[in-house]
Symmetry: C2
Amino acid sequence: MAAITDNVLRGVDHIAIAIRDVDRSLEYFRDRLGLVVVHDETLQAPPVRLVFLDAGNVQIQLVQPLGPGRVAAFLDERGEGLHHVCFRVDRIETSIAALGLLPDGEIFMGARGQPSCFLDDGSSGTVVELTEMRPRALTT
Amino acid sequence: MAAITDNVLRGVDHIAIAIRDVDRSLEYFRDRLGLVVVHDETLQAPPVRLVFLDAGNVQIQLVQPLGPGRVAAFLDERGEGLHHVCFRVDRIETSIAALGLLPDGEIFMGARGQPSCFLDDGSSGTVVELTEMRPRALTT
């Protein structure tokens, strides 16, 4: 598989699955499929619990909403299931500009202090997130 | 990230996105996001066109149905978007038995001659596929 080092996207960080109850979903993803939990964090904004499982070359993120927001609305409309794919980038602002895309909402502090941002879906039907691998203080 | 060499799953092979028109969707995933097409194949059973894009550590698979089936039903019900995540395994029959899961349908010859099988979703809401990396003749 060719590297994409010349491109803006630096590989997939995680595949996110919207679920209603992390602990119940772990009975399938951890106990049945055998994926190992490597991170468990609760964010205030957006209000979500995020549990990351190691799938070897990429992580699986279980997202449980703890209040109103993007994921709660998704669950109400479509039920549990795959929610978004998140790509790593060096820096969000310059990456969005280089891709010629529009952000969908503000840059926020994601899990592990990584600045993150959703993209306008470009009518693809697929929710795409970008995240920086290195934590930094957000000035916006 | 720890390897999962002791486990049945050997990493994520691809993330599949159900779409109605591959060529139109490539305007976003290839031309806008900059992902490179590495494989383009049409299967007879199931009747789908599969286009794979290299995301570095994992591939993105665009799935366009060419007849009735699992993906066409998904599009009718939910519209375009993330459809399933596919994990690599050494051999499907033994992997399903080791995981204690049930297949959802028969083992079929997927893209690149790789034997593949969907799993019963275990009420997770997430469609999971298994695929073998090495082509082999199917005896079932």
